[in-house]
Symmetry: C2
Subunit: 147 residues, 2 copies
DNA sequence: GCTGTTGGGTTTCATGACGAGACCGAGATG
DNA sequence: CATCTCGGTCTCGTCATGAAACCCAACAGC
């Protein structure tokens, strides 16, 4: 939980970051996108403290990005699965990951890729103009306040 | 500065988050995309503490996302401008902001929009398949480890 | 020449989130 | 009956954060 909220902002980036901007949260989402479902699973592939993981998962469930479903009774055990809201972060996660690929990578081959199911081609994050339908480069975009 | 790095991860999302995942950093980038350039400017439109802002700007400059350029001598004053590396975060910022628009917004009209310069249509973040060229929905994408 | 203001910071200090590691409890396994 | 697995909670030290005070150089006004 963040100490001070961004609530004065009237900005959905700020609101998004209140949930997803905490340390570890986006890595948990990425792990879930890769298929991890269980508490110990997340512990194994992120080097996160157990208490922090418990806290983040609870917050993700509270905000509706994940759901906690029993995957067995006796002993009762839970899996954490992304909801459609959580899965909707794919664009943002891929965009950020590929920014890292382009600008921070030490080696040529990025360690993780997003692929198109079926066609199996590599997927990349882009900006697209809803009017003219074209792919838009960074320099061709402005961010504006509407209000 | 984060206390514990994500370095065991071999993941460019993790590396990206070490720079851009700190509290405030992405909001500073958004503010810069909206045109803010000066220290007092960032102070005005984010409710951030001065020391934290100084720290974040220094880190952004260190990592090459922003540059500190004098905009006047006598008295010497500096502006902070996004470099191409910083501007390359546009995709990710827009993706996250629009995730917020879709999933967290209280009102219909999102407070900020990305627009296509020239054509002036609204821009949205998408995933695009490099092979078949089509726009890819969230459910049609898998993230995979290559190594 | 004194006072105040503007811009861009640094210093000081408290507080609370984070991280490590121990502990816990229910059921399975040997 | 002891031990292991899974999914947590508890305790405690430490460090990043946030608020506020302070600093300094260059003016501007009187």
């Amino acid at each position: 939980m963040l100490r001070h909220t961004y609530e004065g902002q009237d900005c959905n980036l700020a609101r998004a970051l209140e949930i997803v901007g905490e340390r570890w949260t986006l890595l948990i989402v990425r792990s879930a996108l890769l298929g991890t479902e269980r508490f110990e699973g997340f512990l194994d592939n992120l080097e996160i403290a157990r208490n922090v993981l418990a806290n983040r998962l609870a917050r993700l469930v509270d905000h509706g990005l994940m759901e906690r479903v029993p995957y067995q009774e006796r002993p009762l055990r839970y899996a954490y699965r992304l909801t459609p809201v959580g899965r909707d972060l794919t664009r943002a996660v891929v965009a950020l990951m590929q920014w890292g690929d382009r600008n921070l990578s030490r080696d040529e081959q990025p360690p993780r890729r997003a692929d198109h199911l079926g066609c199996d081609g590599p997927v990349h994050a882009t900006l697209c103009c809803s009017r003219c339908g074209r792919e838009v480069r960074n320099e061709e975009v402005t961010v504006r306040s509407v209000r």
